[in-house]
């Protein structure tokens, strides 16, 4: 894994105001600098209105970007003449709401939309649609002809994810990927994403108000608040600042949250107990029972 080379994605003092120059101007991001290297798995977390979604949109140039702020593989994506089509074939974004992502009304057609737009031959497109739908747990032969509007919310989310997976982008950005999924669907999706990230050596960016899921997928955390970066570091280090995270209203992973509560009884509990097993071991030590 090339994690030491030049960053694949870079934000340099990125600032963004929606509807700039109109009375409805809305400043969303006030100077974010982040470097993301190839193969990294980064969680972008923060409370609502922290600028997460704007940062995510900037990665695929879905905004009116100014030059000198967003770079992909060292190139300024806002530079005149930059091939934005190529950028979007390499950076896949799964939006927060599946309904804003799905463009066709039949499942198979929607998943095929990206590959078709990329000009892939029909056979390859079909293969990718099958693979992606099977991958997200919607069997190809049962779902390919179903109507999107007749699916449940969770199923629609999977269709949206399949549509991006079918584009086989080396960078995968997910905005709140597990919102609206039942516990089983959530587990399955997290498993799928981990597997994909390993198999295809994806650069994974997961955006969320909760570290619960992101902590299972990512090894680096960027915390945003009020359109600025507050913390940026390896997962374990960031989790040690659990008080700061809690004050920003960021949902902590369950073992960490439990540790915080248990610290009232055992003030010396370490803050980086990532799993229930770690926590159990520490507790058994302190309780002195076998």
């Amino acid at each position: 894994m090339n994690r030491d080379g030049a960053p694949i994605l870079e934000l340099r003092d990125f600032r963004y105001t929606y509807l700039e120059g109109t009375p409805k101007a809305n400043e969303a991001v006030r100077g974010v600098s982040v470097e993301i290297r190839c193969g990294e798995r980064v969680a972008v977390v923060g409370p609502t209105r922290s600028g997460k979604s704007t940062v995510v949109d900037s990665f695929a140039h879905l905004l009116r970007l100014k030059t000198g702020q967003v770079f992909f593989e060292g190139e300024d994506v806002a530079a005149p003449g930059y091939d934005r089509g190529a950028l979007r074939r390499r950076v896949g974004i799964v939006f927060q709401q599946p309904d804003t992502q799905i463009v066709e009304d039949v499942v198979g057609a929607d998943v095929a939309f990206g590959p078709t737009a990329a000009g892939l031959p029909a056979e390859e497109t079909r293969r990718r649609v099958e693979e992606s739908l099977d991958g997200v747990g919607l069997p190809y032969k049962d779902f390919r002809l179903r109507y999107v509007h007749a699916l449940s919310g969770g199923q629609r989310r999977r269709v949206a994810i399949a549509g991006v997976l079918a584009m086989r982008t080396p960078v995968l950005v997910l905005d709140e990927p597990t919102a609206g999924l039942d516990p089983r669907g959530r587990r399955e999706l997290l498993g799928l994403l981990r597997r994909l990230a390993d198999d295809r050596d994806l650069t994974l960016i997961v955006c969320s108000a909760s570290l619960q899921d992101a902590s299972l997928l990512c090894d680096r955390v960027v915390v945003l608040d009020g359109g600025r970066v507050v913390v940026d570091g390896p997962l374990r280090e960031v989790l040690r600042r659990d008080e700061d995270l809690a004050s920003l209203d960021i949902t902590l992973p369950e073992p960490i949250a439990a540790t915080r509560e248990l610290r009232q009884l055992f003030p010396d509990l370490p803050a980086d107990l990532m799993t229930e097993d770690d926590l159990e071991r520490e507790l058994i030590q302190r309780l002195g029972t076998p």
Binding site: Y18, T22, K24, A60, R88, V103, M167
Partner: protein, 268 residues
């Protein structure tokens, strides 16, 4: 990306809390009514010049930036200009002198003058309604219209329902715009760009959005109906208001001033 809201100002409400915003909604609607009547009476360039000057004055008072309004109207003005060109070319009224003639097409001073007056009338009406909506929230607009039209209820005109339909129709303009942006963003993210290519390519791409926009529009209307049912909405009968509108002396003064100005514009 697109930020169509920049390009379509019609139907938006921008709260700057100015004096114009604070005027009683009923008075603003009455002012609009006076202006609309005047726009049919006025028939010369000077009259419309005065009428438009009043609008510019109101806009300045409302503290809504002129640039924002102009940029948000460019699309409409372009369309109007396009129509006026035909108005001039196919003018068939009394003509004293031709500037240019080819078959049935012609450019005459009479045609230019009529088209000019027509254009100003349309611009004036557009400016008026846009300003009304920019400075009046939808709730105030609804309440104002309902109150103004309430005498008609005695004649069994379903005022509340009519106003509601009108308001929903107006409200759907920004909703459609939002919908369009959503779809454009979705397709762009999946590799069909909206922000590249020449004017014709772009227009064709926008065209492809029309069907999904209407489907989603119907879906939204359906959701709205359900939402209103679940809250037991039924007309305006027996409904009370949290904020009761009260027109003060300054409101009446505003109405009187506008009426006087428009009378002058008509008679001069």
């Amino acid at each position: 990306m697109l930020e169509l809201q920049r390009n379509v100002v019609f139907g938006q409400f921008v709260d700057t809390g100015s004096a114009v915003h604070r005027v009683d909604a009923r008075v603003k609607i009455a002012v609009a009514f006076v202006c609309i009547v005047a726009s049919f009476l006025i028939d010369d360039l000077l009259g419309f010049g005065l009428a438009l000057a009043l609008m510019v004055g109101i806009q300045a008072l409302s503290r809504i930036p002129l640039g924002f309004f102009l940029r948000g109207s460019a699309f409409f003005f372009g369309f109007l200009l396009f129509i006026l060109v035909f108005q001039v070319l196919f003018y068939t009224g009394e003509v004293s002198s031709y500037l240019w003639r080819w078959g049935i097409l012609s450019v005459s001073t009479g045609g230019l003058y009529t088209a000019g007056v027509l254009g100003l009338r349309v611009v004036f009406l557009y400016y008026l309604t846009t300003l009304l909506m920019l400075t009046t929230s939808l709730v105030d607009l609804t309440n104002g219209l309902e109150l103004l039209l309430s005498p008609l209820q005695r004649l069994r005109v379903p005022v509340n329902e009519l106003v509601l339909v009108f308001v929903i129709a107006v409200k759907f303009v920004p909703i459609f715009i939002e919908e369009m942006e959503r779809l454009a963003r979705a397709q762009t993210a999946r590799g069909v760009p909206f922000d590249e290519g020449g004017a014709v390519t772009r227009a064709r791409r926008l065209g492809r959005l029309l069907v999904p926009i209407f489907i989603n529009g119907f879906a939204r209307a359906d959701t709205l109906t359900t939402a209103m049912h679940t809250r037991s909405y039924r007309g305006g009968r027996n409904r009370t208001k949290l904020r009761v509108m009260k027109a003060g002396p300054s409101d009446w003064l505003a109405l009187a001033l506008v009426t006087a100005w428009m009378l002058a514009a008509w008679q001069l």
